[in-house]
Amino acid sequence: MTPQQHSTVAIPPPPNLKLDDPASQRGIALQGVSKAFGSKVVLDGCDLLVNKGETLVIIGRSGEGKSVLLKNLVRLLEPDAGQIWVEGKEVTGLEHDELMGLRKQFGFLFQGAALFDSMTICQNVGLMLMEHLDWSKERILTRACECLSLVGLEDANDKLPSELSGGMKKRAGLARAIVMEPEYILYDEPTTGLDPITSDAINDLILKLQRELGVTSIVVTHDMASAFKVGNRIAMLSKGRIVYVGSVEDIKRTSHPLVRQFIEGRADGPLGVF
């Protein structure tokens, strides 16, 4: 596909997501967040708002910087420019202690699970409780098992991460992310690499956490079935910017060419293949 062939497709300008007063938002607000690695610009002035209590799904092709975006939110990566607010507090300016306090409110499911491979699954899940709460051993164990059974891993307590399949690791990572009952959960491709049945169970779990605990979530995924099921709103990331945001109904009906191509999964279209 040459670019000329696509020049006939009119790509609408990105929605105006600039907020008048981002600091007054109760959820998560991003304004002008940019991040480059060397000369490679990954995020280029990204604006986004996640309302308190909602689940926002971010879709986008692999390598577009979705994981980088999530990591910037909790300062695992430092944004080059732009600001991020969580509950009206500017994350980019936080001191070390405040940042640690903020991170305790976040659960993060890594794309590759990132389990500690020298610890058993149960220790992985219980580590945060052990470090931050002075609970008894039994209580920590009970809570860890409870989280593991939520993701259907009650039998894997004493296994090491290397003894689990990819999907099981991801579920264990999810159990670890929710063990402290965080207010915000960032899911990086929670269902990628899982069988359809487990995927659906994970979707149900995401919905359940939102309904029962009022968790605010960002879900990064390419799995459109999952996106439609768990999302309240869906945003699309392309070329370092959010090019579209809308509710699930909106996005199903949209005529936005990039979004249409993505959700229909076509190789030909304005996104190009490589």
Binding site: V74, R103, F110, L115, D117, S118, L127, E131, H132
Partner: protein, 238 residues
């Protein structure tokens, strides 16, 4: 790096981790330490006898061996041999954790990897390298003794007389002070290169290599500086 030292105040809370890391240092090092030490002692004996024959009385043999082992060979060889092993272990383990996002995961859990991972390793190295050095000193003397008595026609009494004659505790203490510092250098090098690993398996390989090279070179340079500080300045009068 200074943050590792800063976190020493929570050492007591991390005691189980520290003990686990001390186990890592000790277990598996033993065969290496024993073989290295026995042969270092024996070689020193053989070389000393060769250099001394006909000029220096054999009663000085024990002195030569003990001084060279306590002051120089014990601390430096252990720091190079056991130290490289340990440094590689730290750099590889921490580097793998870095590239597989385990360090990120720890950060997001509001657990400081410097406190949780670096500090116990640092403490373990600083405590265990001197212990291993004492062990090495003893075995090397034993190796020298066996080589002298069995193969070199030196009587056991002559050897032991030589050992005792010019024994100064400052030799042994100076050697241990050195190995204490070397322990710190080894840990810092492994931890530094481990935490700064980039890229996948290749990056881990790079880090391990750099950390071992860094540790060995720093040890040799530090050895020179410490020789001046300890034996030219501190212990001079005694």
């Amino acid at each position: 790096m200074c943050r590792t030292l800063f976190h020493l105040r929570s050492a007591w809370r991390m005691r189980t981790e520290i003990i686990e890391q001390m186990r890592v240092v000790a277990v598996g090092s033993l065969p290496l330490v024993i073989v290295t030490s026995v042969f270092v002692g024996a070689v020193t004996a053989v070389q000393a006898v060769y250099q001394m024959q006909a000029y220096v009385p054999m009663k000085f043999l024990g002195t030569v061996i003990s001084k060279s082992v306590f002051i120089e060979l014990g601390p430096v060889l252990m720091a190079l041999v056991v130290g490289s092993r340990l440094c590689a272990n730290y750099a590889a383990e921490l580097g793998t954790m870095k590239v597989t996002e385990q360090l990120d995961a720890m950060n997001i859990m509001a657990i400081d990897p410097v406190r949780y991972l670096a500090m116990p390793r640092f403490v373990a190295a600083v405590l265990m390298i001197p212990v291993i050095t004492i062990f090495c000193d003893a075995i090397a003397i034993f190796g020298g003794y066996v080589a002298s008595v069995v193969t070199l026609d030196v009587t056991s009494t002559t050897f032991i007389e030589g050992l005792r004659m010019f024994y100064k505790s400052s030799d042994l203490l100076g050697g241990l002070a050195k190995s204490f510092i070397f322990g710190g250098i080894i840990a810092m090098s492994g931890i530094f290169f481990g935490f700064n690993t980039e890229g996948g398996a290749e990056g881990v390989g790079q880090s391990v290599m750099q950390s071992v090279v860094g540790s060995c070179l720093s040890i040799l340079v530090a050895d020179y500086l410490l020789a001046i500080i300890l034996f030219q300045i501190l212990f001079k009068s005694s």
